[in-house]
């Protein structure tokens, strides 16, 4: 399904500095304006505009019947969204932090993911579940989890994540318009990232990865918060004569095998980078499937450069936990390049 821009080419405003928060906010505003069945509710998304201000101003603009504060219960939020979707609505709900999506786990995994299959396609659940995720914001415990692996290993869910304001807008518009339920993961540490942009904007389709920097020696696969880290590594690597290609996966489930394999076959080496712990993390799927599809083209195993296999640490220890550009370059060095 394509997203129709609400504004025509003529009245597109001149590019301005837009934060990811603002882009998400505008995507919700345009979705609400375009389609009356779109509803926005959750904890503190109304008057306050969300703890990250993503829903700021929407209650005022669309009224409390379209945008409202729910009681504080995540299973309740997802469970009632399911009922609304069955009644023909298109709820966009927020889990305040991703550790707070866990109380809704059963509703998401046993119903959101399975309703369409259960009913032979008679009942679709076009629900968008927005989840601010990942760390690097100095948050107290439970405020920096990366839960994408849970959702990605659940058949029936679609999982996307933007790394920049333009994608934030475009992916969210497409997610809201999708007939399939979407877990929309927002990288908290990138909320305040700005880009020059005119909204509305339409970027690549929501199921496609994007090459965000071309290179020939190695491919860095990543998404969300660590795209910036990978680009920084590529920059540094270039200074040391290493030509690094960076792919922003954007869509975690489904995985864009085509774009990724094309790159890996060119570079013959790849690494996957994410904040989440390594063991059983999303990077495992990436490494496994990219190896399967390109084994004879690889000159080294796919590296996983990730958080350690420990719970997300307290703020003073984040810097040691998170993958950095240096750690990426160190890891690349660990390969036997003569292989």
């Amino acid at each position: 399904m394509t997203v129709t821009a609400l504004t025509t080419a003529e009245d597109v405003p001149a590019p301005a500095s837009v934060t990811m928060t603002k882009a998400l906010n505008q995507a919700l505003r345009d979705s609400l304006a375009e389609d009356d069945t779109v509803l926005v509710f959750g904890e503190d998304v109304g008057r306050l505009g969300g703890v990250f201000r993503v829903t700021e101003g929407l209650r005022k603009e669309f009224g409390p019947e379209r945008v409202w504060d729910s009681p504080l219960a995540e299973s309740g939020i997802v469970g009632t969204a399911i009922g609304m979707a069955m009644a023909g609505m298109r709820p966009v709900i927020e889990m305040q932090f991703d550790a707070y999506a866990y109380p809704a786990f059963e509703q998401i995994v046993s119903h959101v993911a399975k309703m369409r299959n259960r009913t032979k396609g008679h009942v679709s659940l076009p629900i968008t579940i927005r989840i601010p995720y990942a760390g690097d914001i100095g948050g107290v415990e439970h405020h920096s989890d990366s839960s994408e692996a849970y959702w990605c290993s659940t058949p029936g869910l679609t999982v996307v994540t933007p790394s920049n304001p333009a994608d934030a807008y475009s992916l969210l518009r497409e997610s809201v318009a999708s007939e399939d339920p979407v877990i929309f993961m927002e990288p908290k540490s990138r909320y305040w990232m700005k880009d020059k942009l005119s909204l509305p904007v339409q970027t690549a389709p929501m199921d496609r990865a994007q090459v965000v920097r071309e290179g020939s020696d190695v491919t860095l696969l990543t998404y969300g918060p660590t795209v910036r880290t990978a680009l920084a590594a590529a920059e540094d690597g270039a200074e040391h004569g290493l030509s690094i290609e960076v792919i922003d996966l954007r869509s975690l489930s489904p995985f864009d095998d085509e774009t990724v394999s094309a790159s890996v076959r060119k570079t013959s080496r790849a690494a996957i980078i994410h904040e989440a712990a390594q063991f059983g993390g999303y990077g495992a799927e990436v490494a496994a499937r990219v190896t399967e599809a390109n084994f004879t083209h690889l000159s080294a195993p796919i590296l996983r450069i990730t958080g350690f296999d420990v719970p997300y640490p307290s703020p003073k220890l984040e810097e040691y936990f998170l993958p950095t550009a240096e750690r990426i370059l160190d890891a690349l060095e660990s390969w036997d390049w003569e292989l």
């Binding site: 299973s75 399911i82 009922g83 979707a85 023909g88 046993s110 369409r116 032979k120 009942v123």
Partner: protein
Amino acid sequence: MTIDVPTSRRALPQLQPVSFIGADGQPADVPADGLTIPSDRTLLGLYQKMVQVRRFEAQVTHLTRQGRLATYPSAAGQEAIEVGATTALAPNDWLFPTYRDSASLLTRGVPVTEILAAFRGDWHCGFDPNEYHTSPAATPLATQTLHATGFAMAAKLKGEDACTLTFLGDGASSEGDTHEAFNFASVWQTPTVFVLQNNQYAISTPLREQSNATMLADRAAGYGMPGLRVDGNDIAAVFAAVTAALERARNGEGPTLIECLTYRMESHTNSDDPTKYRDAEEVEHWKQFDPIDRLEKHLRTAGVLDDETAAEITASAEELATSVRDAMNTEAEVDPSELFAYVYANPRANLIAQQGKLEAELAAAAQS
């Protein structure tokens, strides 16, 4: 000087369950505000449905024992709730049943094969929910109470005249989702009726180890929601209570919790062994409260039911039983490709590839 607080509130429901027709078929006379006994004509219709439903349950249980269905949770003994509550719904209302509520699906008009598809292992949900305004029967306990609440909220927001009714068990009442549903429904004042079938057991766990409340209907007060306990084996009481709750809901007066006191006469499912956890005497004791016997007595006393009508009703139930047997005699065809057909609206490369592999495998097997 003290903080301002409200000075009145809704009282706890009456202790004695609402009942119009006693277990002996005589007037029970435990009314509640605003509830009146349905007409004998209505009761006769309900009687017929209960007889059919009981025959249905017996037939399906029998087929399950024969191994024709994998598993089946029977609502035998709970027919007054299944039929009474479901019949009170308008066609445009939506029902949110559980695995125990096949009888309500039948009452709602879902065809036998479509009801039994799940238990025969054909497909998870055998019917189109939109066609019968009935959600797939929920297996994860209490989850459906939230769906019913959300659906009702949507109807309210759209200004549509649709209420929702959901069943839940005494066991399910302990799940967090039940609490969240009661709370959301009451805060949002959704047109939802929660029908709690308190059949005294959650598999083997007796009510006293499930709850320390005097009655589960007492929960409603804590949400500012009206709560009511009815004799769940008296279909007159169930029908009246649900009808009144639906009317309140339609008038914008929000949700209601109705606890129906009843008893699960059969084992939890065919694979359960209730001798491990309850006495035969207890089951015997509850037989005297049978919902069909008492209504039959009442209707006969009232002169609405005679032997001829009774025979017709029995015949209609037998016809239904035959149709169940017939339906279960014809094996449903399953198509392995359907594994992949409905997971996503937007097709996915990995599923297409896997489907291709499976089809090649099947083709090869067909060759050899």
